[in-house]
């Protein structure tokens, strides 16, 4: 069986492989989760840019807290919400390094709103990868700042009610208004086409940061099948039907060619 398997993966048959930076550590993410795909895209882009030895990632608090286990680059683990400040410290003192943060909605759009807005507004030459799955995954499915109205979570079990819980925040739209950002986009990774588009977006953002053009924010509208209590397939359907209308995909700002 194994011999047969190895025979198939011969150089002439190889059409796809994971990036070298992605190691063999089994991921802790649930089946159907978007995180793994985004990790892979980041690894691919770093390799394509040949920045393996010059990249520092900043991981958040949330499901991606262990992002540093899966991509073999240097990482710093930030306190909840503080990743943009940590990235600022690294990038200001190592301006020739590629510095990005990887943050979820609670980390970036709630507890770390101040750090996010101000790092972007200063135009730090960093990239923020923002995973928006409208829920707190790691702590067991509580309401996130981006939870949709009517969406049920552990802390809004009867559905998010604007009077009780306020409105979902469109942090990406806010980021697009800031003078310091050069590229702000909203992507997803539920299909081959969308994965390719997300990868192009990450590449553009990384390149803009290395060209000193300012801050970039790449939002990935994502699923959380466990938190949403749906199968992976149904979670994708739910995302398309509910998330995309409220969080429309596409570039919100692109000044990278200026």
């Amino acid at each position: 069986m194994n011999a047969e398997f190895n025979g198939i993966i011969s150089p002439e048959n190889l059409v796809y492989k994971k990036p070298e930076l992605m190691n063999e550590v089994p991921m802790h993410y649930c089946p159907g989760c978007s995180h793994g795909v985004v990790h892979k895209l980041i690894g691919e882009v770093i390799e394509e840019m040949e920045m393996e030895e010059k990249t520092v990632g900043v991981s958040p608090v949330g499901c991606a807290v262990f992002a540093y286990r899966y991509l073999d680059i240097d990482w710093q683990e930030a306190a909840h919400g503080r990743a943009p400040a940590v990235a600022t410290g690294i990038k200001r003192l190592w301006p020739d390094r590629l510095v990005f943060t990887y943050q979820g909605d609670g980390d970036l759009a709630c507890i770390g709103t101040a750090e996010t807005i101000h790092a972007l507004n200063r135009g730090e030459n960093i990239v923020i990868i923002f995973i928006n799955n409208a829920i707190y995954g790691m702590t067991g499915g509580q309401m996130a700042p981006t939870t949709l109205l009517g969406q049920k979570t552990a802390t809004c079990p009867y559905g998010r009610d604007a009077e009780l819980h306020g409105y979902p925040i469109k942090i990406t739209e806010i980021a697009a208004q800031l003078e310091g950002t050069c590229y702000v986009t909203r992507q997803s990774v539920e299909s081959v086409a969308s994965i390719r588009s997300a990868k192009r977006a990450i590449r553009k953002a990384f390149e803009a940061s290395m060209a000193g053009k300012g801050s970039s924010l790449v939002e990935i509208v994502s699923t959380c099948s466990s938190g949403w209590k749906l199968s992976p397939v149904k979670a994708n359907e739910w995302m398309k039907n509910n998330m995309f209308p409220f969080y429309p995909k596409g570039d919100l700002k692109d000044k990278t060619s200026e």
Partner: protein
Amino acid sequence: MAEQEVTLMKGNEAIARAAVRCGVDGYFGYPITPQSEVIETLALDKPWETTGMVVVQAESEVASINMVYGAAGAGKRAFTSSSSPGIALMQEGISYMAGAEIPGVVVNVQRGGPGLGTIQPSQSDYFQATRGGGNGDYNVIVLAPASVQEMADFVDLSFNLAFKYRNPVMILSDGVIGQMMERVVLPPYRPRRTEEEIRRECPWATMGRTKDRRPNIMTSLELKSEVMEVHNLHLQEKYRKIRETEVRYDTWQCDDADYVIVAFGSAARLAQKAIDMARDCGIKAGLFRPITLWPFPTEQIAAVAQGRKGILVVEINAGQMVEDVRLAVNGSTPVGHFGRLGGIVPEPDEIVDALRKMEN
């Protein structure tokens, strides 16, 4: 050797100027009275045009300390400064730095509390500084300057200790030392470390993973308790070594003293004046000044207390270091405390009165 430049400046200015001269790479801070001159001086001197030192006014103290976390985690010499309420905000970051073993420097130019408190001088953050301050079992090395000269000298010392032990270091000053001007000799200019030097001295730093090593990860997280306990034991062993080797203190006129005043920072300066005044009235007093508040000079205080009529702890707070002094003296000598609160700095004659009371 070049002629030493003697100048007159505030403690806050001395911190800033010494930092530029001893090759510090970055400063991240947020204005607050009575320490704003640190960032103001740096902004005025523009070190980014000379040594390349980076200066960023952050959006908050929370952000400042996390910028230090990032920069220092990447092997650079970075620091921040603030005053009491701002330092309270930084405790999250300091705890994370202790956990991840990141060597940054924090300057606290203390003011009175609790809460927004007052902008006047105080030493009421002693507990916060010497007990760790944030969550978890950890310690920060704490240095207490008593002059503008020490404000300047302790910058380089702090960075050396921070990198030697991969641990946060705090310079615990106050509004008196921060705001006063006196003569100071600044350290000579020293270049910032090169990338090769950082690579050599900080093999743990996250500055980009080269192929010859595993990735460097700065983190304080570990979900397996067994592993976390091992990490904690490693930290405790490091703290033990620091306690063994890094205690610093100073004594003055203790030889014939019946009474020893224990005081740190600005309170030690006030106490010196009071000791002169007391000796004029026939009370033989001396001074023991802890320079490191953590590690605390426990054994040295125990020794100095032997055979005295009393120990008077003078602090600009309600009685914090006095607890450590009582533990050190362990009942062998009576220990009293004198302090003023809320930003009032005790005047030397009040300290003399307190000594007199001990005598009766």
